[in-house]
Point group: D2
Chain length 383, copies 4
Amino acid sequence: MSTEFAELAQRTRDFIDGVVIPREADARGEHGAPDQLRLELQQAAKDAGLFAPHVGLEFGGLGLDMRGQAVVFEQAGRSLLGPLALNCAAPDEGNMAMMEKIATPAQQAQFLAPLAAGEIRSCFAMTEPAPGAGSDPTALRTTATNTAEGWRIDGEKWFITGALGASLMIVMARTSPRGATMFLVDADNPGIEVAEVIDTIDKASPGGHSRIVFDNCLVGEERILGAVDKGFEYAQVRLAPARLTHCMRWTGLASRALEIAIERVSRRELFGSPMAELGMAQKLVADCVIDLEASRALIDRTAAQLDGGLPSARLASSVAKVFCSEAAFRVIDSSIQLCGSDGIVTAPLGQFLAEVRPFRIYDGSNETHRWSIARHTVRAQKS
Amino acid sequence: MSTEFAELAQRTRDFIDGVVIPREADARGEHGAPDQLRLELQQAAKDAGLFAPHVGLEFGGLGLDMRGQAVVFEQAGRSLLGPLALNCAAPDEGNMAMMEKIATPAQQAQFLAPLAAGEIRSCFAMTEPAPGAGSDPTALRTTATNTAEGWRIDGEKWFITGALGASLMIVMARTSPRGATMFLVDADNPGIEVAEVIDTIDKASPGGHSRIVFDNCLVGEERILGAVDKGFEYAQVRLAPARLTHCMRWTGLASRALEIAIERVSRRELFGSPMAELGMAQKLVADCVIDLEASRALIDRTAAQLDGGLPSARLASSVAKVFCSEAAFRVIDSSIQLCGSDGIVTAPLGQFLAEVRPFRIYDGSNETHRWSIARHTVRAQKS
Amino acid sequence: MSTEFAELAQRTRDFIDGVVIPREADARGEHGAPDQLRLELQQAAKDAGLFAPHVGLEFGGLGLDMRGQAVVFEQAGRSLLGPLALNCAAPDEGNMAMMEKIATPAQQAQFLAPLAAGEIRSCFAMTEPAPGAGSDPTALRTTATNTAEGWRIDGEKWFITGALGASLMIVMARTSPRGATMFLVDADNPGIEVAEVIDTIDKASPGGHSRIVFDNCLVGEERILGAVDKGFEYAQVRLAPARLTHCMRWTGLASRALEIAIERVSRRELFGSPMAELGMAQKLVADCVIDLEASRALIDRTAAQLDGGLPSARLASSVAKVFCSEAAFRVIDSSIQLCGSDGIVTAPLGQFLAEVRPFRIYDGSNETHRWSIARHTVRAQKS
Amino acid sequence: MSTEFAELAQRTRDFIDGVVIPREADARGEHGAPDQLRLELQQAAKDAGLFAPHVGLEFGGLGLDMRGQAVVFEQAGRSLLGPLALNCAAPDEGNMAMMEKIATPAQQAQFLAPLAAGEIRSCFAMTEPAPGAGSDPTALRTTATNTAEGWRIDGEKWFITGALGASLMIVMARTSPRGATMFLVDADNPGIEVAEVIDTIDKASPGGHSRIVFDNCLVGEERILGAVDKGFEYAQVRLAPARLTHCMRWTGLASRALEIAIERVSRRELFGSPMAELGMAQKLVADCVIDLEASRALIDRTAAQLDGGLPSARLASSVAKVFCSEAAFRVIDSSIQLCGSDGIVTAPLGQFLAEVRPFRIYDGSNETHRWSIARHTVRAQKS
């Protein structure tokens, strides 16, 4: 790690430990931090020169590449509030990254600028309830029809993170038999209803995860993001980095869980636990360290490939996603075990486990990624 | 399994599926079912001839031995409300079993009878906050002093399940440098304060888990359970069966989680999932089945040893506890994975995961049991 | 376990420890014990009243049911020579069991009697090289044609255990488009060639695993085992119990591996290993004990179902096969780890690992069993 | 990876595939390749410009740093003969690296030059039979006494790889109550006896693993390597890189095992295996890819730390050793499973499993490394 990155990581860590973690108790309850707290923390991050690390300088960010993000996002992830404070939480972070690449200057001025500044929140409305689906455009049931009044979006989305309270929705809709298009839609469009906030085990995402209904939702031509029928290509562009930034943040949370557990185990030693039990605790600690180090190594390696624009980055990001999501879960689970009955108290480790669990499912379930990794590997060998 | 047990298991299953599960939606929220719902379900269980399966006939139960309990409790455990309905939930169930063995007839009439009838709830107040502890009497900090006004209990207990709302507390207190004694204490004793209900990840136990403070809590001689200074011996008598009944109930919940997942996966097949992903789903299903079958086999084998009064039952119950607690967690975790994003919806699978997680920690952490298993095995081989 | 079984298990254990294990050094090298050693040990087993425990009394055995075999075979399996000594090694043991059920009295007199007495060895020639196959008769390429000179068998078999040195071959051949038939064939039939003994990692089976070529191999009508075209039904009858007796024997070998490791770890303690390392050793020991106990519990449960003729036995035997084969491998692998560099010395633990590895593949690969378990479970739930 | 490294890796791979692997059949049997074959392959490697990649240019090598070695050694490790061909096999490779750093020019001319040229072989004689030991000098029982005739070495070493056939032995002996010293000893010294070649499960190391007895082994002052009493410090210098080069080579062998398995699975598809089994195969393949990629990422990260001389490299090398040794074992084990019965044929996968197994034990057992990782982590957090 370069000296510059190391210094930035340390500053981020100090900010999280000194400013963010002390506010965690204020964010208990449903759906993450209240807006007021989020804005306060964002101001503090701006003051500390740590705001929007992934965003280009022209939009007020630090302009870090993926390897730089890796070191900062891990530190930010040590608190569930950290990514909010630095304005690098999902789904905003991935939306900003995609808009920097493909939005028009006018779109950037209208939507990216306030998003990068933390003034608004956004969501990414792609997933649909079964049997609607992932990468197969023909399975996408939400449609956008070019009418005299503009593009009319109709359909239903499911598990859309952050929809409640978002000002901007990036909506994927089918625009031809084989193609889909992304639209930038104002959340107050009368054709949109956030029909239900799903009661899930994770609670920390602002706005939670919602079902959204689009019914005669009309948008103008200027709201097309990129080109018509290219939506799935852009989604791929968004997915690999977004997957990796998830890995960074969750690795940070897992490392904090382990620190909490070590802190507690160390105290117990003072009173004398049986040495043999200590040996089992050391096994758990060592396995956590190995998981965290392997996660970091995979993240760094994948980030370098993404920064270099290598085609191998896509497979690497699948590998990292599967490994890091399972490693973070194992580390937090073991940290709970190390803490004994204190571990099942909701705050903080009990909540950490609930927050990290879904990552093995979203961003492509680990089974789907394994299938993709295997198929790619077999095909590459055959060719 | 005998025909009689098989028939009883089927009747229990039908009762849980037909009567209890439909009421689950009424028990959402903190700390399990409201009293009214519990009493309704208990009446239904009485009507169905399934009430208090572990309790002797003279107290209105079915008088089943451990092997019989194994088949009924697993079915009861399929719903978090099931053990409440059948009045075989922890900690009441273990308290009843112990009182049947060691309480005086007067104590049984006063406390066991209403407990067996579901009229009151109870708790078992042994665990203390660190550095107070488990099986070492000298580490027990709560004391009972024989005074002119009776036994005076002073101290603090921690993670006492069901204390809030209990009428009866069985309290373990140190009564001599090397000995501890159990007392039957009315919960409305002015020397008792339920100081805090701990916010834990599991929510289904009525009353949750509490911190209790005993301050000049006075009880009479007639409230001694068993003999003075024999408390830890009785605790051992209580622990091995109580540990195994936990295994039974959680195996039931895990088996229901898998059923829910299979039901969902089967529906998805209709719409056609990729066959390869199906193969990975089948791997998950098969591993769950293997875990469940091995759990049942270990439970049955340990139950037979407990019924036969074999000394090997203690080691067997440690083995069963470690295996079943980890297997149930794996099965529920895999069931969530099988369901995809539906799996992380709180009800029911998300909650199941949170409810089962603590079982790897309480009743002796799995690390402590492993230490005990290893030490016993090495010593047995050497002798 | 009944007193009778416990006494028999203890006698078997004493015999293995006192008589068989001291001869292990004489059986080093390829393909198990030399015939002379095998015959000596078999005589000793006869003298000890432990010979042929699974065989009916009329053929000189002990007539044990599956639950009885479970306790004796585990003890026998503690040495790789043990099953040979007791004449209960695969594939002879499974062949005897099948012939007791379906051979004619004349066939039993001619083939089963000397096999049960240990005078001859046999093999079971079903498996064929890819793409020939398992349970699909149409994939079976070896044919038996009814000609004027008798049934003429032509084809090739692969991985046939014990073929070299066997006097009797039970050969499965296709006799109609949808059916296969078993034949009792003398190994000295001029139409049979043991073309190759495959160099596999396991070395302890007498005769190893061979490729056999049948070329104009003529046998009479009286050599049909059971009925024409019913071969696959008999194979199913043979497979479930044969699978379970493998579990019994390998569980025995694994338990001996752990004893060897504990013996060595205990000695090291004398010289003082770091306590923390000891804790990790205890974790390994405990996990081995849990694996062994769960294996025994599954074996016992499945044996009871087989003894009772329950249809559930087939699924149970698949579950037991997968679990026990993986558990035995883990236990031996961990025992090696516990022994440090001594563990990788070939005799005995290094060899044990090589011997047990194939069990996850033969008798149906664990993947095939998992597929079958999942499919059965899903179908059973749907119906 | 830089273009230069990528090109070198590809050339190495081509050399291994085209020149080395075709000769594997000539190296069957005990203790690796015969000398003649080794010399032929080394000449071919010299001709290909791939010889001694880790050795400085002045000794005829390629002068690669650890990151460069990482890419070449992995490719070399794809065949058990590859490291021999490139003269980068253990223990010679680690001995060369250490001698480049601490030997005198005269010692380098006499010993390092012929070793680097492949003219002689060497061994590293540190380990002793229990209770002699690792890093504790007082536990070292082999002594070197400064006498009138020179230093007299007496003692016994155990599990010394490559001793048989080595010309040079680097011997660690206690030279003061708290210190040990390394000596460069000619193997034909009359005071040395290779008393036993241990029969271990791995067979590919030239010379195998031996017990050596030193009895009045006299060497001159000029044979001291480095400074008196500094032996354990040098051992630490040797260990971290040597550990990592093991990771590189075994990762290469594991990746080849997977290629063999994929090749076989792909062929089977042609004949149609059940799709569901294919799904389980894909799970195995994906998990292998993840293990290999995480191994590579950890190796690369640790190599960078070693190249940079960072103190963190020691912990990183422990983490890499534990992860890579277990990952390589899992990958080869899964590759066997993927191949079905072909997998247990000795050549090549059966042998690969036996060769890789010891790596979880030597170079510090994984339990010792875990203990060290945990202790370091806890202490670092406390400070």
